[in-house]
């Protein structure tokens, strides 16, 4: 597609959003998947002591995509499932935040104001770069940063105050979910391979969430989910996935 972006050097100046997936999948491949969901949350110091309650949470449109795993293991995005999955995730988030006594405002990108849209975009891209940095340096032992071992202190910077002022929100919540399901062909391949004593991957659920204090820009809490089971296509398991991802969020 864009060949320029394909050959990334290791000292890259790039941040690609797709790298969320790459960073997540990396662990997904390393960790032998058990049936149950694995999560691992990180909290900033401030989140241990201070807590705004009831909090107003700005929900950045959850980035959700559901796919079919074809017989050969390729991922084919499925529009219908994705639409259902997005709805289920939205409902699950709403219910959970309600339980936490937080009110929810949906983020809307500025219309007809190029400058403001640009500044909003920069905040979202910053979240992308920070999110990948957290996944890389806090969840991947090989990339651990010695000065960060006992610290969780990433921030998007004070530009986030703009969102606080515009939406009257205390926090922004970012949610990223990828869910895939084995096709009938894939199930057959897994069965044949199993006869040969080879284990093969079917579907997989990957995700992360981060909570950003809009006053300071600080990422106060971050969590990652990897699961070999789960199903965002039906409300109840979707609720379970969102619960295990967000239960611990300091709201």
């Amino acid at each position: 597609m864009n060949p320029d972006q394909k050959s990334l050097p290791s000292s890259s100046f790039l941040v690609e959003r797709s790298r969320f997936l790459v960073a997540l999948v990396f662990f997904g491949l390393v960790i032998i998947l058990s049936g149950c969901a694995q999560t691992q949350a990180l909290k900033a110091k401030s989140a241990m002591t201070e807590r705004i309650n009831p909090a107003v949470v700005l929900l950045i449109e959850p980035d959700v995509q559901l796919s079919v795993v074809t017989a050969s293991g390729l991922q084919e995005p499925n529009a219908e499932w994705t639409e259902i999955g997005r709805r289920n995730v939205a409902q699950a988030l709403e219910a959970l935040l309600k339980e936490k006594n937080a009110s929810l405002i949906a983020y809307r990108a500025p219309q007809n104001d190029l400058d403001r849209a640009h500044r909003h975009n920069q905040i979202m891209k910053m979240h992308g770069a920070v999110g990948v940095s957290i996944l890389n340096h806090k969840y991947n032992e090989m990339l651990a940063l010695p000065t960060k071992v006992d610290r969780f202190d990433w921030t998007l910077g004070p530009d986030t105050q703009m969102l606080r002022d515009e939406f009257g929100a205390d926090y922004a919540l970012f949610v990223f979910m990828r869910d895939s399901y084995a096709s009938a062909g894939r199930v057959a391949v897994i069965a044949v391979a199993a006869l040969l004593g080879v284990g093969m991957q079917g579907g997989m659920q990957l995700g992360f969430a981060s909570l950003v204090d809009l006053q300071t820009g600080e990422v106060v809490w971050f969590n990652r989910l990897i699961s070999g089971a789960g199903d965002l296509r039906t409300p109840e398991p979707a609720r379970q996935a969102i619960d295990s991802l967000l239960t611990d969020a300091p709201l």
Binding site: F13, V15, T147, W154, L156
Partner: protein
């Protein structure tokens, strides 16, 4: 295309092997030619001839200390692509080194790179140069940068500081400025 994709995966996995160690704020010999005295603790990794220092991760901010680029070398090697990348030539003027740095950054994925304020700078005992930069990451996040360097015995020594325009560049800018003032070179 497919080959390129698999190469980038390999590169990604290789870069995942970068191992960071702690660097204390004390005088540090970067190469036989120069040393610097950082003001704070940095995480430090070696990538070939380039030392990478960062606090929050290289996607947010990084100091790259380049140890003697030789005639015909590239600044940021990309596997199998070196022939197409800008190459250093001995005897380059500061103007040409600036062009070499900017073009090398573009080749390694930075977009819309502009540079300004090229001026003389004392790189330890070596008469050198410095300049500022602005660029975008491939997905459009805004970055700023400072480059300072000098050539000695036909080799290029360079310190490159880059960080996101919002927050991360400013966060350690003054520490990097003091570090640039701390450069000591050996005769």
């Amino acid at each position: 295309m497919k080959t390129r994709a698999s190469i980038s995966i390999i590169v990604l996995l290789l870069s995942a092997c970068t191992h960071y160690t702690l660097l204390e704020p004390q005088r540090y010999q970067v190469s036989e030619v120069y040393s610097v005295e950082p003001q704070i603790q940095w995480n430090h990794a070696k990538q070939g001839a380039v030392e990478l220092w960062t606090v929050d991760g290289p996607l947010l901010q990084a100091v790259r200390l380049v140890n003697g680029v030789n005639e015909g070398d590239v600044l940021f090697p990309v596997f199998g692509q070196d022939k197409k990348l800008p190459q250093f030539r001995a005897g380059m003027s500061a103007t040409e080194v600036q062009e070499f740095v900017v073009d090398s950054m573009t080749a390694s994925g930075a977009a819309d790179v502009s540079s300004s304020n090229l001026r003389p700078f004392q790189f330890g005992a070596l008469p050198g140069f410095r300049f500022e930069m602005q660029f975008l990451s491939a997905d459009g996040l805004e970055f700023e940068g400072i480059a300072a360097g000098a050539t000695s015995e036909e080799k290029l020594y360079l310190i490159l500081y880059t960080g996101t325009r919002s927050h991360y560049f400013d966060k350690y800018k003054s520490d990097v400025e003091r570090m640039l003032q701390s450069i000591q070179t050996r005769a």
